[in-house]
């Protein structure tokens, strides 16, 4: 199939390299330099050591590497970085990817098998990457008669909504993508959008099994939203604020889970139902309705929905940690400086190694404890998957509407009594104020 290589002429080879260099230079001069100069009018450049950063100053970093640190610090605090990388999309997607892998391995160990083993040298580490690449290359089959705009948009909406919920979760004091004063209500409002997406997508699939699955998804998510909201209500009473950062801060003295154990339990169960995880995976019940409302998803559409699903998992686990487990509070185990005395000494290399300016002990400590607690909650959610069969829809609705709502009200009244008695709450004996 391969044609014979033409005779190699060194002159032609040199000519082709010169031609590539010429094209690159021309593009840079004609296109990229004007773009840079246009944008430089609009981007506020950081102030480094009392000077505005200019490209010439930037290139001088090659001489003094420690000058990159303030720039790094500046970029880490821009909105773009926060939304895209750190408490935002890339961070959540990484956690989602690790969760999927850990779930498969953990379930495998519980079920006396090994799970992914061959992709990657060590116990199948690259399995996720392999699966992602495989999904990218699969054909996306749209059923005949399907409502095409909704069919293509619904998975994107799903991921976008899940990312919107992630954007509201603070991981450290000051590190949240969207610091909204009514953060908790915003979370619930965005979560209320998911049943709509499931129903729209199942209707747009034009097939019987997705139809049944979509109706079940609607029933399930709506039935469990009420206990979900109600169990978070006393938290607002205790911290007298809807802002998620404030709620986390108000648990400085005592975590909410010790005051609201029943509510934490109800919140956990409701979040399992919102996430459609076993035992609540009726909308995707495999043995009854093939794959429920996901039946007609193929290829990357399925990949997007899985990604959205696990982003939502991280978001709800993070929300549980913020509301009940004291957010990011934990004993300070990171030293104030990585290498003591690096800031005063003006040795650039030492400052580089100590990440002077970029490393903030409180932030790193907060992120660390937040991650530990979130990982613990995610772990609980994964273990429940291994030991339970699927629930039936009438048992689910019965549980959601009767039992869970009653339990939340019980705990709500207990907390109200305690607040009235002046023991807890903003003016109580045990509070940060």
């Amino acid at each position: 199939m391969a044609s014979l290589t033409p005779d190699f002429r060194f002159g032609n080879f040199v000519a082709s390299i010169v031609w590539v260099l010429f094209v690159v230079l021309a593009l840079v001069t004609v296109l990229i330099l004007p773009i840079i100069f246009f944008t430089l009018f609009y981007i506020p450049l950081p102030v480094v050591d009392g000077q505005v950063l200019t490209p010439y100053l930037f290139f001088s970093m090659m001489v003094d590497p420690s000058r990159t640190l303030p720039i790094l610090q500046f970029f880490m605090h821009t909105t773009l970085f926060k939304a895209a990388v750190f408490p935002g999309f890339v961070f959540a997607a990484l956690i989602a990817a690790v969760t999927i892998f850990v779930e498969r391995k953990l379930l495998a160990k519980m079920q006396l098998r090994v799970g992914p083993l061959y992709a990657g040298k060590v116990e199948g580490i690259f399995q996720l990457l392999a699966d992602g690449l495989k999904l990218l290359t699969k054909e996306i089959i749209v059923p005949s008669g399907a409502d095409k705009p909704i069919f293509w948009l619904a998975p994107i909406m799903f991921v976008a909504t899940a990312a919107a919920v992630v954007a509201l979760i603070p991981v450290a004091p000051g590190w949240v993508v969207a610091d909204v004063d009514v953060g908790l209500i915003a979370v619930f409002a965005i979560l209320g959008f998911f049943p709509l997406i499931a129903l729209l997508f199942s209707w747009a699939s034009n097939s019987k099994y997705p139809f049944i699955g979509g109706l079940r998804a609607l029933h399930q998510m709506i039935a469990f939203e009420i206990p979900f909201f109600l169990s978070a209500l006393p938290v607002v009473l205790l911290s007298s604020s809807l802002n998620l950062t404030e709620i986390a801060r108000s648990q400085y003295m005592i975590w909410n889970i010790f005051l609201l154990p029943i509510n934490a339990f109800v919140f956990f169960i409701s979040s399992l139902a919102e996430l459609e995880r076993i035992p609540f995976d009726l909308p995707e019940a495999e043995s009854e309705i093939v794959a429920g409302w996901l039946t007609e998803t193929t290829g990357m559409i399925y990949g997007l929905i899985q990604l959205g699903s696990y982003l939502k998992l991280y978001a709800l686990a993070g929300l549980f940690v913020i509301l009940f487990l004291g957010g990011w509070y934990g004993p300070q185990i990171f030293p104030p400086e990585l290498i003591p005395g690096a800031h005063e000494s003006n040795l650039p290399l030492l400052q580089m190694l100590a990440l002077d300016g970029v490393y903030n002990a409180i932030t790193v400590n907060s992120v660390f404890w937040f991650l530990i607690k979130t990982i613990f909650i995610i772990f609980l959610m994964l273990v429940i998957r291994g030991i339970n069969p699927r629930i039936r829809i009438d048992i689910l609705l019965h549980t959601g509407w009767y039992k869970l709502i009653v339990l939340t009200f019980i705990n709500l009244f207990v907390v109200l009594m305690l607040i009235y008695g002046g023991i807890i709450g903003p003016e109580g004996v045990i509070s940060i104020r």
């Binding site: 495999e286 009854e288 069969p389």
Partner: protein, 386 residues
């Protein structure tokens, strides 16, 4: 709601005859077909009204291979490999009945050691089949661990069968006249070790699977088949025993050495899906006892096989012999006309008989109960199609 209840009652009354297809727009026809993760190789059409099933029509035949017709073209030895294909996991039972029938027609008795080995292989096959059935029951209920554990523990028994016969499933171990070969030299110790370990695992199954409140909620009180209905519909095996009839072919009509083995017939009186899912576990425990007694009482030496000619001519006549397989009483009606090939072979398999209970139980139940009821009837689609 009352008109729906009337509809359900009417459908239940006519469940043994055809239910007229209603022209109602509310009903949605679903084909729980062969390409469905919830049905095995079997298709049944259901009409649902919301969440309630109002009409069920089973449609077997996806894996029909015409074993009964093929039997008429092969002699008795050649019939064994293809007759075990309906249930590959339980192959030592489905060929057991055929061997008994042929031996009855030819008029020989199998030597005692062969009888013990045959019974041993039958019990091991039964354990292997029941574990596989239990695994798929777990998957139907959405419990993936309940799939993995029995499937993993089944390897212990498949290993023993492989030592005996050389194959993991479709052993072709029983032939008219006895068994194909003797047991390997260290088989007894291995078998005892593995069966004893397996019995400890059964205790774990009870703790984790059968005491799980969700599983109980889904299967208790669901799909009740009363004793009268069970007898009337003629079901067999664990379905019958879960409805309170203590009928086990090994006890009522002992074949080979089963009259020397002490074991109890396990039955439950609750008649629901949970009982139908639990009786096989009790049966498995009894099988472990039986295996230990068989190994104990087996004569140390002797022939395992009465050597027959390849083209053995069976005397003209007919016979009906049955054994207790994983699904129930499995009987063979063999008609012979004096030639080496049987004139007619009819296999009456437990799955085909239990199929009658499927429309009876599913009509009027919820769609969510469909997997719990359907698979609890111990229905093996390939066997029912033969």
């Amino acid at each position: 709601m009352s008109s729906l209840q009337e509809k359900i009652d009417e459908a239940k009354k006519l469940s043994l005859q055809i239910t007229k297809e209603t022209e109602d727009d509310r009903l949605m026809t679903l084909s729980v077909g062969p390409q469905h993760p919830g049905s095995g190789h079997f298709r049944f059409t259901i009409k649902v009204d919301g969440d309630y099933i109002v009409f069920v029509d089973p449609d077997p035949g996806y894996v029909h291979r015409g074993h009964e017709k093929m039997c008429e073209y092969r002699n008795h030895f050649q019939n064994i490999p293809h007759l075990e294909r309906p249930v590959i996991h339980d192959s030592c039972n489905i060929t057991y009945a055929y061997s008994l029938a042929v031996e009855d027609l030819v008029g020989i008795t199998v030597p005692r050691r062969g009888q013990f080995i045959r019974a041993l292989a039958s019990e091991l096959s039964r354990l292997s089949y029941t574990l596989y059935w239990l695994a798929i029951y777990g998957i139907f209920l959405g419990h993936s661990t309940m799939f993995m554990w029995p499937a993993g523990d089944r390897e212990l028994l498949i290993d023993l069968l492989e030592r005996l016969s050389g194959a993991r499933v479709t052993n072709a171990f029983n032939i008219p006249g006895g068994v194909r070969n003797d047991i390997p030299y260290n088989f007894k110790e291995k078998c005892l070790a593995q069966v004893n370990y397996f019995e400890t695992r059964l205790k774990e199954y009870e703790d984790i699977f059968y005491n799980n409140p969700l599983l109980r909620q889904r299967t208790e009180g669901v799909g009740i088949l009363t004793k009268e209905d069970a007898i009337k519909l003629g079901v067999t095996g664990s379905v019958l025993r879960a409805s309170g009839v203590p009928f086990d072919v090994r006890k009522v009509e002992p074949y080979d050495v089963y009259d020397e083995i002490e074991f109890k017939v396990q039955y439950m009186k609750t008649c629901d899906s949970f009982a139908r899912a639990y009786v096989p576990v009790l049966d498995m425990r009894e099988s472990c006892h039986i295996i230990r007694q068989l190994l104990d009482k087996m004569p140390d030496s002797g022939d395992v096989r009465e050597k027959l000619q390849f083209n053995i001519k069976s005397s003209p006549g007919e016979t009906y012999k049955r054994v207790e397989s994983g699904r129930g009483a499995l009987g063979y009606h063999v008609v012979s006309d004096g030639t080496p090939r049987p004139y007619r072979v009819k296999a009456s398999v437990g799955s085909f008989r239990n199929l009658l209970a499927l429309p009876f139980l599913l009509t009027g139940s919820k769609l969510g109960d469909m997997p719990a009821i359907y698979w609890s009837l111990n229905y093996w689609p390939v066997e029912a199609d033969r």
